[in-house]
Symmetry: C2
Subunit: 163 residues, 2 copies
DNA sequence: CTCAGATCATCTCGACTCGGACGATCTCGA
DNA sequence: TCGAGATCGTCCGAGTCGAGATGATCTGAG
């Protein structure tokens, strides 16, 4: 039988990956896959559903007032999917949806104290995971990594010159 | 803006991402997201469905004989999902499923000449995209990137001691 | 003031994903 | 030789995702 199967009620991909180190994009995929597996596990362990739940909490934790639409763009989650995430988090009382009094169409999701606590706990687990993953990597190399990833993430040109 | 919406028939996430550069894992997600968007677009342009289609082709192109199960592990795709990918690629005559004569349970998917051509074409587009993404990054820094990503992808130690 | 058009959150519904069956086949011990 | 158990590819059903439609609300022109 599957020895290390998580007893989850919801469906969740558990694909471990033994990739070939040929190519940057493949490597990138494999890396994110690995990280996701670990983070998802940590998230489940503390009652969250997903690493995405945590991602949303992280975005909310910086205190900025954001509409759901803005939030969905920040965390790379479809606005439709974000609704279900917020529903879940709200039910767990980790966030609340407040109505912007100046524009009653928009909701401003805000993190609660409980949410902040969960986020802080998770952040510790995440930092440990990162530290383990980057064990033996010099600070300079880490900076290089962050720099390049940021460059990739922001896109090849970010602002297409009006062509 | 946006404005560059692809007119796709199949469902496909098009979430562009304007992430905050706080954290490594978020950065990693954002980077892979960006790359995926680009690769998916390129894949669609040459008749493939997905960047995953290409990933499968890439894995098959190294000439190794692999069962579908092995293949699914290599490319980080669930074996069930891989079936639909192979079905599609087989219909396009980019791969064929051969039966291993020494074990008639297993299928050995193999890339065809047409598949090899498509893969080669795609590889050019991919290399261009990579070059653009890494424009202005020194060769040394690239090596660092590949090294660290590989380290992350291979996992901290594959089996986390259940503490 | 009124109304047309824009924008927000939500809902709907079709497409996709994956855990858990299942049949076919292999292996190994009796 | 035979059968129990393992392993392969495939199928099915529940769950998830996201493009487009919908309803509520805002904005600006007349």
């Amino acid at each position: 039988m599957g020895a290390v199967q998580a007893d989850r009620t919801t469906t969740k991909p558990m694909t471990a990956c033994e990739s070939f180190p040929d190519d940057l994009t493949i490597l990138l995929h494999a890396a994110v896959n690995q990280v996701t597996i670990y983070l998802d596990r940590a998230a489940v362990e503390m009652g969250l559903n997903d690493a995405r739940d945590w991602l949303v909490l992280a975005a909310l934790d910086d205190g900025q007032q954001r509409t759901q639409l803005e939030l969905s763009r920040v965390v790379c989650v479809d606005k439709t999917t974000l609704i279900t995430v917020l529903d879940r988090l709200e039910k767990q009382e980790l966030v609340v949806r407040t109505v912007d009094p100046s524009d009653r169409r928009v909701r401003i999701p805000q993190i609660t104290d409980a949410g902040r606590r969960v986020y802080a706990t998770f952040a510790v687990a995440r930092d440990e995971a990162e530290a383990r993953a980057l064990d033996g990597v010099s600070a300079g190399d880490r900076a290089v990594l962050v720099d390049i990833l940021g460059r990739i993430a922001r896109g090849p040109d970010a602002d297409v010159p009006a062509s």
